[in-house]
Amino acid sequence: MPEVVVSIGPHHPALKEPVNFRVIADGEKIVRLELDLSYNHRGVEKAAEQRDFIRVLPLMERVCGICSHSHSTAFAKGIEEIMQLEIPPRAQYIRTIIAELERMHSHLLWLGVAAHLIGFNTLFMWTWRDREAVQDTLEEMSGNRVHYGMNEVGGVRRDLTPEQLNAALARLPALEERVNKYVVMVNEEETMLIRFRGVGRLSKEEALRYGTVGPTARASGIDYDVRKDDPYLAYKDAPWNVVTDTHGDVYGRTRVRVWELQESLRIVRFCLENLPEGPIRVPAPKNAPKGEILSRYEAPRGELAHFIRTNGTDKVERVDIRTPTLANWTSVAMCLVNQNIADIPVIVAAIDPCLSCTSRITLLDNHTKKAGIISFDELVRRYRSRNPEDVQP
């Protein structure tokens, strides 16, 4: 049977963000996939070179609407390390609380989107309702639902009052109960088992080879987690475990995320109950000395890396942002091969892609298992030649 090119996006009812898939299919089976993600390049890195640190932080928050705290924390802790600033424990704990609440709202949002994509809209309504409790906590603490604006170089901008702490603690038991329910559901609910199991499988070797990060990697049994590997903030003090699973498919990625919700709840509870007294910031000098740092941070979607070079002024010489979604694209192209067209949305969603952070393209060859790209003309040529070798997996 000849191969057919199915073009999906960038504007498509099934897609949440602008992305273009050129799916080369043989019947219902996917043979190759080409992704084009260059719809969102905004030049943030160049803009960051023109502003002083105080103005870069709000810019960093706006790299992404979901993991805004991740970007500003990664940048702030990098600059602080270059300045050799020791930020107070209370600020570390507050940053950790916001970071883990952010992970929780991100994972709950993802669980809802995944449920929606398989037509399980009841779960979508439930998780998004529960996510509101997390959002309310964040709003109480920071004043905002999305861009929290909590970080500054040297600490955090807002202290937490005892009332805020109690309000947050009061919301936790209900959330814990709900999350425990989701853990049971993910493992037993028939609708989810049928659509998630065996879909988009990635072996441990493949996940390592294609450089996956975050829950996608941990679902394939790779225990990389920057919070443990390169501890920052209060992760050294809090009791928590790196969650891994061995399934390597969408089912495994879902299990990892719901377990991470439980771990995040433990971290948040610990930090709220053990919040140290003291100042929330130290005065930071205007200029940073010459230096460079690779600031690593475990964002909800995986490892986020900010490479920062300073030059002795109040501006950065260069900030190079590598987002987790960019690291995960190669593996998406890999796990779509030989899968059903109907499973594209859920497999792509399983890495929790965040496109406004990331604008990239990749292509994977089914025969050689090599990642790379081919030109459009080459694609057309291959399609027209109808060479049986191109069709048969």
Binding site: S38, K46, G211, L294, D320, R322, S359, R360, T362, I373
Partner: protein, 159 residues
């Protein structure tokens, strides 16, 4: 190779490739030359298990274009392999043959800095839009937008 890794262990074995230094408790930085990057990465992969590419960072320091390859491995140390390339005709061999995730990072650097990666399976445009003019590399320090050039968006509107 899963135990802790010290600078002494690395520096001794990596002497032929360049100077190793410990910049932080779990970070080692090796400064090498463009011709040796491929071999350096192969050696740290084989000898110390640095098999996971975190990212490739690029910096324009106005004299040279620098590339820094950050790798980690089961021991959770991070090695940063740094090289400088001449600003006129910057070119280096690709490492996407030994580290598949590098392909995507190299294309991004090619777009923004105009560094040529020899042997790359396809250095097509990736982050810049299709209307972006050729031979303009926005993250180079000497790049300034030209008011008469069309950089994308809708023609006639200021982008």
């Amino acid at each position: 190779m899963t135990g802790p890794l010290t600078l002494d262990m690395v520096a001794g074995k990596m002497k032929e490739f360049g100077v190793s230094e410990q910049v932080r408790n779990n970070r080692i930085r090796i400064t090498t030359t463009p011709e040796k990057v491929h071999d350096t990465i192969r050696t740290v992969q084989a000898m110390f298990g640095f098999d996971r590419l975190i990212t490739i960072s690029a910096v324009d320091n106005t004299m040279t274009l620098e590339l820094v390859y950050h790798l980690t491995g089961p021991h959770r140390m991070v090695v940063s392999i740094a090289v400088g390339l001449p600003r006129e005709l910057p070119a280096i061999a690709t490492v996407s043959d030994i580290l598949p995730p590098a392909a995507i990072y190299e294309r991004q650097i090619h777009d923004l800095f105009g560094i040529m990666f020899r042997g790359h399976p396809g250095l097509a445009r990736i982050v810049l839009n299709e209307d972006w003019p050729d031979n303009e590399y926005p993250l180079r320090k000497d790049w300034k937008p030209n008011p008469d050039t069309f950089y994308g968006g809708i023609k006639g509107e200021r982008s």
